[in-house]
Symmetry: C2
Subunit: 640 residues, 2 copies
């Protein structure tokens, strides 16, 4: 008897169980997606990343275990969900590590934050450029005449008259949110109250919120960077630009694939756009808002404005707009500029009438994260040719100055954010962000985010650059990234694939090893970046020597070791002092936008002037890429 | 052993069952409210209306049956929910007639509708006064240049440029709703599409919706009258003012009481405002929208604008704004004017960005239904003093002309809409809307809404006026409304309370009888109206003879028999030709508002000029009321 459908129970570690009927031949990874069970699959189910580990508690599966499952793990029932299909009814354990990687939130302690300095510096620069805190939001405290039988004016009209007089504006209106609070707030404060309102172009004043008495609240605003891998946010006081809270989380869309192409493909399935929208807004952004508000002692519905930056696919999915045509010739997105939307329409759980502005995109693969970065890096004001590199899941480049700007993207893949790397992770607690290796013993010295006593959990982008650079410098690997030395820390598996064990199991925690497959993925990522730089410069007839400054942005750690990155042929061979690591400029650009409508206008103006270059259509790009897929390059003279 | 809590199962006839644990001493009516089980209780649980009949299937209840339950019914387990408390675990049957009374919807056949003429006439008048169909909504069909590799402008910017050129407006923006449709609609129509947009003051054009190709759709708008007892609506084509559909339903809030005072009291309980908001919007307005759209072949989300009129309490609860202070001295509502709200914020299931405008109120008991009526009746343009009477659950009066307007309310109670009358009902199919009684035999001749073959189900307002007027004319009842004749159709119950059986059980259906209690309730209602007229005229120093015209509005049937209404002392003794029944002017005013922003401005201007009179504070009102609580009046000379 052949059964055509199996009952599969997903028991999520420390969470609920979900049950699904799975037809014969469907992988457990696809079944998990259907059941909305979060399983990491940055390689989108190709069996290459080894992240979609699940454990079979009851029943049997069919399919190869793949090289990521050791014999011991196999005996314990561990399998890769992408390579396994049910061969009976199943009960599966889905490790919490999967969801932790994506959605575990990190609230930054602002007193100790290294990010704080980035924002402080930006705030000073904005002030120097004449940008005021012109978010349009203001507060006003008032005491009204109490109503009486011979003065039975309704509450709304009573308050509107007082606000109109005090603010010198004849057009005053209420949001429903504020109106619903009005009668009780007025009486709670004996007809004294504080309004939060927004001045609207051509429409006067719109009252957003009310509090009893003379409340003088902060006016919280939210800046969001939606990365393909990570979501980062800051809360700021729109009156001053002060930081109120900061935090980050993995992008919950990761279970639908690590890169934008796989997200777009998922979005074209029935209900896909909405599923992806919820995975980022419902599972990441809203919970992180709640946590950040808790840490800052604020109410989410008291956030009155938000600015969001992200790449073109991320902003489409955040808006719930079909993204299918981004990847279909002629590569036309649904929008570059989003217009101003309300939080309620986007499902953002802040004040329902909060204005939400998105940084404008300029092409299918150069989005608002880059235009926000162009603004906050200041490249658009530079006298001399400057190169801006954003190392995210995609790599984007902007080259230019006050005179011209051009931008392009290259599909670096998720390696710089720890994706597609067997022991890769985001730059959060437990990530190895730097590494030195002893040339003789090959013993490593690791720097781990989270400091003293933090168990190493994986490599973030900067740590990967370091470990591969060090292995190359120590001549442990050759120009193709293959191991050419033996030793205690160098191992080969049954297929002969070499790896470097940075952390032995039990030494400081779980085993962390860099495999030749990881190195290969990484080399392709760095090759994509370097070849894109070469191609773009060639198009505008510049040489590498003409680059005056290089800005490196992205959430790949506290910064990268530039010498190491040059050594492996990722970044051009320029004096180290010309390089500047400027952090997450998508987030800092969003911070500038939420604080200032003038900044929003400026970024829109800048974005319209950037020339978008489609690298893939350029004949020399593929040759450049192939040449760059060596350590450091087939043309070694570029790195001498 | 004394049990302090009983398990009560409400089995709703033809619907689901709900179970609740009910503490000792709580009435089954209160328990039903808690369980959100709809049981009619227009008298709010005083045991007077006899409408909250439920049948005990299992278990025993304690409490008096009350005079509305006959011996036979009692034996079958029938009880009034308001008078009964559980004395054991219970299983109860809740008749569908209860919910039918409130929520059964009626879609009007426009071809046969008598209302159609009202709207046709209004449309002509509006045109004559120079009001165009200036709802701000327009459609535009366009064909765009298709994108190409060397023309990769995003869809939004491509369409905005084309609309901007075609409409001559530099500021063009998108709703999220339209943006989400954009990429698929454009490609479905080979880059030809039709936009529905709204011109916004100071903001340019906002695109609300899109359709592929050259669609030229109608632009549906919705007009809503939210009465305390009934909700009435029409759908109109905003390009022409044509009617597309009409319908009505009971207001689902009725289970919280028949009059506004009981609704306000309910609203002050925890979650009360939201419960009442949902009872009207979720249970009545949205389902009726769906039904009307189905009959007109439209999609609800394709309704682009709505106008709502209702009394002050109804508009507060529709908006979800606390109404508590309406009934507390100094009687100050939260708002007179609502501002423009979006459908999404109000939970109205039409286009989420549809503008929803509310007719402005002028006092706690004179609301937007009256200002809408002042507009559509045209009283504000009259040369001579005119009296406008709106007979709803409350009675409201406006007196004046182009020179002055004053308004007041009197708590007539729900009798004119069939509430608080044992066999009363709304003016819908099955309602007896007119009645003649033979002076000798007391045999009735009934006119029933729904025509030929329609079983009589109860009396609506106009039918009540007729039957009581006829009983008085036939000298079957005296000036106090007590029966003074005997006969086949006159009956007395065990307490000696007389009643007139208009329909015998089995004759044409269920028994329909008018009791002395009903007549008493009705006399108080008509007395409230007449005494309010007298008091208001006295305040402005007018006599009844000075009234040039009387407009009678309200949903009490196809019109009332004015001679009958004068005979019983409800309306002033003026020549019948000075009376004009003008239908539901709250609805026709809303219809004018949805079709024209100019009308909205006009109504706001009119409303600000109306003087609101608080009758209850006037010393002579109570004397006038007592004198008017006779048939026709203690001062018979007024009706000679």
């Amino acid at each position: 008897m052949q059964n055509n459908e199996w009952n599969v129970v997903f028991k999520i570690e420390g969470g609920p169980a979900r049950t699904l009927s799975v037809p014969r031949g469907v992988s457990l990874l696809d079944a998990a997606k259907q059941a909305d069970v979060a399983i990491d699959a940055p390689c989108s189910g190709n069996g290459t990343c080894g992240k979609c580990r699940i454990r079979v508690l009851e029943g049997t599966v069919e399919g190869e275990p793949g090289r990521h499952i050791s014999g011991g793990d196999f005996a314990e029932g561990w399998r890769l969900a992408c390579l396994s299909k049910p061969a009976s009814d199943l009960t599966l354990l889905v490790p919490d590590t999967a969801s932790a990687y994506k959605t575990r939130m990190k609230i930054t302690d602002l007193r100790e934050s290294r990010e704080r300095a980035v924002f402080e510096k930006l705030r000073e620069e904005l002030a120097a450029q004449g940008y005021r805190h012109d978010s349009g939001l203001e507060t006003l405290s008032l005491t009204l005449k109490e109503p009486a039988l011979d003065d039975a004016m309704a509450d709304r009209e009573r308050l509107i008259r007082a606000v109109s007089d005090a603010a010198g504006e004849t057009r005053v209106d209420f949001t429903l949110h504020a109106l619903r609070k009005l009668p009780l707030v007025l009486r709670e404060g004996a007809f004294s109250c504080t309004c939060v309102f927004r001045r609207e172009a051509g429409r006067g004043i719109l009252i957003l919120d009310l509090a009893a008495g003379d409340a003088k609240p902060v006016i919280p605003g939210l800046a969001v960077d939606i990365g393909t891998t990570s979501v980062s946010m800051v809360l700021t006081d729109l009156r001053t630009g002060d930081l109120l809270a900061a935090g980050s989380a993995g992008n919950g869309q990761i279970r639908f694939g690590a890169d934008v192409i796989n997200r777009i493909i998922e979005s074209t399935r029935p209900g896909g756009v909405e599923r992806l929208r919820k995975a980022v807004t419902g599972e990441c952004v809203n919970p992180l808002i709640r946590e950040m508000c808790r840490s800052a002692g604020l109410e989410p519905e008291g956030i009155y404005r938000a600015a969001v930056a992200g790449n073109t696919t991320m902003t489409h999915l955040f808006m719930g707009v079909p993204a299918a045509h981004i990847r279909l010739e002629p590569y036309v997105p649904a929008f570059f500029e989003s217009g101003v939307q309300t939080a309620a329409s986007l499902g953002l759980e802040i004040h329902p009438d909060a204005e939400v502005v998105l940084a404008p995109g300029i092409g299918s693969y150069v989005g608002g994260d880059i235009t926000a970065g162009v603004f906050s890096s200041g490249i658009y004001r530079q006298e001399n040719p400057t190169l801006f590199i954003d190392l995210g899941t995609n790599g984007e480049l902007v080259f230019g100055s006050a005179d011209f700007l051009m931008a392009c993207a290259c599909s670096a893949g998720p390696a710089f954010e720890g994706g597609d790397i067997s022991c890769g992770m985001r730059a959060t607690d437990g990530a190895i962000e730097a590494c030195r290796i002893d040339r003789e013993s090959l013993e490593p010295a690791l720097t781990i985010i989270g400091g003293e006593g933090q168990e190493p959990l994986g490599f973030c982008g900067s740590g990967l650059i370091d470990v591969i650079g060090e292995l190359f410098r120590c001549e442990a690997i050759n120009a193709k990234g293959k191991f050419i030395r033996e030793g205690k820390r160098i191992r080969r598996d049954e297929w002969g694939i070499g790896s470097y064990v940075a952390v032995f199991a039990g030494e400081d925690g779980q085993e962390l090893a860099i495999t030749e497959t990881d190195i290969d993925n990484f080399i392709r990522a760095k090759g994509a970046i370097f070849s894109a730089i070469r191609t773009m410069l060639a198009i505008v007839d510049f040489t590498i020597d003409a680059i005056a400054e290089v800005y490196v942005a992205g959430g790949i750690g506290s910064g990268i070791n530039v010498e190491q990155a040059i050594l492996i042929g990722m970044l051009p061979n320029l004096p180290v002092e010309q390089y500047h690591y400027i952090g997450n400029t998508s987030l800092s650009g969003a911070y500038a936008m939420v604080n200032s409508r003038g900044v929003c206008e400026k970024i829109t103006g800048i974005s319209r002037g950037i020339t978008y270059l489609e690298l893939s259509s350029h004949p020399s790009y593929m040759d450049e890429f192939v040449a760059a897929c060596f350590l450091p390059h087939t043309d070694g003279s570029l790195f001498e």
